[in-house]
Amino acid sequence: MDLKDIKAIIDLMKKNSVSEFELEKQDFKIRLKRGMSGGGGSVGNYEEAVALNYAQAMNAPPPAVTVAAPALPPGIPELDIKSPMIGTFYRSPSPESAPYIEVGVEVNPETVVCIIEAMKVMNEIKAEAKGVITQVMVENAKPVEFGQPLFKIRPN
């Protein structure tokens, strides 16, 4: 199952006002949940939890689909910008400068979002996605490992 299929399921959920969806097949499991959080205003915050589980099961359970109560207006899934390396995470090009990006900023694939320093080399990390930054996941000057989520982005 790839992102296209997940987006198709989400569209179906929106169309039919479904808030929870779970599917288990022989070699993977997926759970999607839509919810409203935070204050009022015309634009709400949507959180979706996506859990993809690839299991090497010998005796696979039969496919199962559960549908829960109707709920909320449509939302777009958020993606993580993950660290491609190990090192120390910095929000700004230098201690005196302003951070590269903040929450709410629009980025494109070439936008530098942070620096990861490893072995005395400052590596500029690019967004590699187009969208709006919705969350900063790591504190400035903290160590990060390979694959660690650095930012959440809502693609557009």
Binding site: A57, M85, I86, G87, M119, E145, F146
Partner: protein
């Protein structure tokens, strides 16, 4: 005293290193690939850093990532285990230049023994017999034919950068020599990034006997006795024991002293420090020949630990800290007998095909004189990206008979479901009359398999 050590390895050896660190009150950092997120060494370490995707080339072989992980966790030293980067001189250099101590031999010794051809030359300088063969790397098929003519068939074509039993081919005549020469070079380039090969006399049905050495940075070097590793399938060791039944034979009593001294001569010639193993082959007439030096802790080190009472990984760490050896050769006593069986996730009934997957049930043997070094547990999924060894079973007895009986008893206690293992095959080795008599050579497994599976 080191305060923190990064373990640059995985699986059972990573667990082994973490155990030694814990006993020394040293904090540990585990590194892992995405496939090893649930591995035992990650659970046991104080800190863990993900360093990349599953293939070793994107994780356990990535010097830059490992050193970055070492920097952000602020470790004093790195233990490289065995395989991966354990014998990579460049990795050792990078660690030292970043002020991180490399727990292994010094760079000079690594260069002096950098490949098998260079090591052969060093052994000759140390007045240690080597199998007749080429002076160094053989570059052309004409040279290969000339060497073979001089030493006589059969010969072995060996990759100078090979290791762990890989990169070797036998040739019985000119035609197979020429063919094998070119194929070996191509394979070596692909597998080790170095197409250099040399040629040695192929000694048939030898015993593979290796000596464990330990050296400090003041030039003191001792050996901890031998291990007999002749029980091999396709040059991969399956069973190891100490002492060697061959060297216990009164006819060969003097060999142990001669080989032990030869091992130390080679180590001193190379200015060796920390732990290492000098490999020899012994022919049917009791002549011994130097093969190579393994510049790392080895898989089968527990066998020596059991008969000497010496914790080798602990010693590696102490020696790396600059501690003197504090052991003389006469302090080393071999007591009793120890045997190790490697337990692999392979199907012995299907040509030893690897059997990765989820371990459903896992119960391991125990009791007096039984030791299990493993990272396996019930519910653990063996990843397909690395070697198939799921653990080592070691038994100790007051003599060889007791160690063997205990090994048979222990093997029968294992309960593992979900994956295939070589446990049943190991049991058939332990029950074999020739093995029990201690009469075997490196052709033992081949002969056993042809009896068990005559059609093959």
């Amino acid at each position: 005293m080191f305060e923190k050590i990064l373990v640059a390895n995985r699986g059972e050896i990573a667990v082994r290193i973490i155990r030694a660190c814990k006993e020394l009150n040293v904090r540990t950092v585990a590194i892992y690939s995405e496939a090893d997120a649930n591995s035992m060494h990650v659970q046991m370490a104080d800190e863990a850093i993900c360093i990349g995707k599953s293939p070793a080339s994107e994780s356990y072989l990535r010097i830059d990532r490992i050193v970055s992980a070492a920097e952000i966790t602020d470790v004093d030293a790195i233990h490289p285990g065995y395989g991966f980067l354990a014998e990579n001189a460049h990795f050792a250099d990078v660690c030292e230049s970043c002020n991180i101590r490399f727990i292994g031999p010094n760079s000079r010794a690594m260069s002096a023994l950098e490949d098998k051809a260079v090591s052969r030359a060093l052994a000759k300088k140390a007045d240690v017999p080597t199998p007749p063969g080429s002076e160094g790397v053989v570059d052309t098929e004409q040279d290969a034919l000339a060497v073979a003519k001089k030493i006589g068939y059969p010969v072995m074509i060996k990759a100078i950068a090979g290791g762990g039993g890989r990169g070797m081919r036998v040739a019985h005549n000119d035609i197979s020599l020429v063919k094998g020469f070119h194929t070996a070079r191509t394979e070596a380039e692909k597998a080790f990034g170095n197409s250099g090969v040399y040629i040695e006399k192929f000694i048939e049905n030898p015993h593979h006997i290796e000596f464990q050495i330990l050296g400090d940075n003041r030039g003191n070097i001792i050996h901890l006795g031998e291990r007999d590793c002749s029980i091999q399938r396709r040059n991969q060791k399956l069973v190891e024991e100490s002492p060697s039944p061959l060297l216990e034979n009164p006819k060969y009593k003097k060999l142990r002293e001669k080989m032990g001294k030869a091992a130390i001569r080679i180590a001193k010639e190379a200015n060796y420090t920390n732990a290492g193993t000098v490999e020899f082959i012994v022919d049917q007439a009791g002549n011994f020949f130097f093969l190579e030096v393994n510049k790392r802790i080895q898989v089968e080190h527990p066998v020596t630990e059991e008969v000497t009472g010496i914790d080798m990984v602990r010693y590696q760490i102490m020696l790396a800290m600059g501690e003197p050896l504090r052991l003389s050769q006469s302090d080393v006593q071999l007591k009793g007998h120890a045997i190790e069986c490697r337990i692999n996730a392979e199907d012995p009934f299907d040509d030893f095909r690897p059997s990765p997957g989820r371990i459903e049930m896992y119960y391991q043997p125990g009791g007096h004189g039984v030791r299990v070094d493993t990272h396996a547990y019930a519910g653990y999924t063996m990843p397909p990206y690395y070697d198939s060894m799921l653990g080592k079973l070691i038994t100790f007895g007051k003599d060889r008979r007791e160690a063997m009986d205990r090994m048979s008893r222990a093997l029968s206690e294992y309960m593992i479901t979900g994956i295939k293992t070589t446990i049943a095959f190991q049991q058939s080795i332990l029950q074999d009359p020739n093995f029990r008599r201690g009469v075997y050579s490196t052709s033992f497994i081949e002969q056993l398999l042809s009896r068990q599976f005559p059609a093959q």
